[in-house]
Symmetry: C2
Subunit: 246 residues, 2 copies
């Protein structure tokens, strides 16, 4: 950790000058952003964009097929924007290819979740609304797969292990195509429910993360952000306080 | 793991019918996607979009200020699209708010990376090009922070610990604002180098992940995808084969 701390401090210190300058030039910085927002509004229909309820099954099949064209993140996003039509189709769905394999293959956040979450972000501007929909989508994902994690690496490796196939097998790819369909479809079901004022959160965080946050969250030492909902034990194990491996 | 395997098999079996139907209806599924692609092209300038070199410092300050408006993912994306101008400004940058805190606060993939990677995905269509730029950006991030990980939770918690502050402190937020600026600026430096045909990868994967993939990657048991570049020890620890905690 010594090296890590050194680097962390370095980036902190290297930016100390910028921090002071930023505070001084706060007004100028914000006016730049305001200009940007105005330019954006002039070019595109005002955000958030209108949403008409979509057909979950149509989205499932289009997302499933789209996976084979441009990966999970593209597959989900492309299905959602093309089913929704204009103005959504003004965004090139190819932009979302970057999300494949947990962002460019890094095994990080599942691309199907990224593509679907981005679409939810077009439909809802209120953080309370888009957050509750994305949280529900992500919690559903972690429980449906049983991994407690939104990470591609965990999802792909655990599923492949459970089904006795290699991670680059056609079976695993076909599974991720189905998964892409299921995630995009679930996003539609949640958005449709919200459109009908019928949304109800059905999946809560696991007992493990609630217990961990009792000490590590806001009411405790506050070294983990409160928004974290994934099961801590996926990475930290169940006996982290005994072994201290990390 | 028994419960996890059961759930994994369930999603697999629950979709077996769909898999067969999907194979039968493959042509129909693909034609749907083609229709979508045509609709998208008609509504927006052909993707990828033209890129003129941007000013890295202007992007830094705009992204830094944008963080305080809509979080890290919005801050980075908004700075990049508004500096790039039309047609980039046709996308409401608010869409990217969802990425904040590692996707809606989950502590997963850093939102500043998501926003910057999405912009790279608008500029480059060739997977070989956008992947090499995103990989370099992400590797740079993991080394600059010293964590070996692109995850918000690791980055935020390690930095807060090293600097003796709480994760919800103003100091940590100001650090993430600076980080948002640095990541968006780095994306510009990489895109500018690519525009000049001067791009050269400077950061390689860590020895740990290379060693792990010798056995777990394509040449071995293939239970980890080869695109994974993050340091395995961040989550698995350095003695995973001894303790088997996970």
């Amino acid at each position: 950790m010594a090296n890590s701390e050194k680097l962390s401090r370095r980036i902190f210190l290297a930016n100390a000058g910028k921090l002071a300058a930023g505070a001084a030039a706060g007004a100028a910085g914000l006016s730049l952003v305001t200009q940007g927002a105005v330019a954006s509004a002039a070019d595109s229909p005002e955000w958030p964009w209108p949403y008409k309820k979509l057909d979950p099954e149509a989205v499932y099949w289009k997302a499933n097929a789209g996976y084979y064209q441009g990966g999970c993140s593209f597959g989900a996003f492309n299905a959602l924007v093309t089913e929704a039509g204009s103005p959504y189709t003004s965004i090139p769905a190819g932009m979302m290819r970057f999300g494949e394999g947990g962002v460019s293959g890094w095994g990080s956040h599942c691309g199907a979740l990224i593509g679907s979450s981005a679409f939810i972000g077009l439909v809802h501007k209120d953080p309370a609304v888009y957050s509750k929909l994305i949280n529900e989508l992500t919690l559903w994902y972690t429980e449906e797969l049983g991994s407690g994690s939104p990470l591609c690496h965990v999802s792909v490796t655990e599923w492949s292990k459970a089904n006795g196939v290699k991670v680059e097998s056609q079976e695993r790819k076909d599974r991720c195509a189905r998964l892409t369909g299921e995630v995009a479809k679930k996003a539609v079901l949640l958005l449709n429910a919200q459109a009908d004022n019928q949304f109800q959160a059905a999946v809560g965080p696991r007992a493990a993360v609630v217990a961990c946050l009792n000490c590590h969250g806001k009411t405790g030492m506050e070294n983990v952000r409160n928004g974290v909902l994934q099961d801590c034990t996926t990475c930290h194990g169940t006996n982290v306080h005994q072994t201290q491996t990390q």
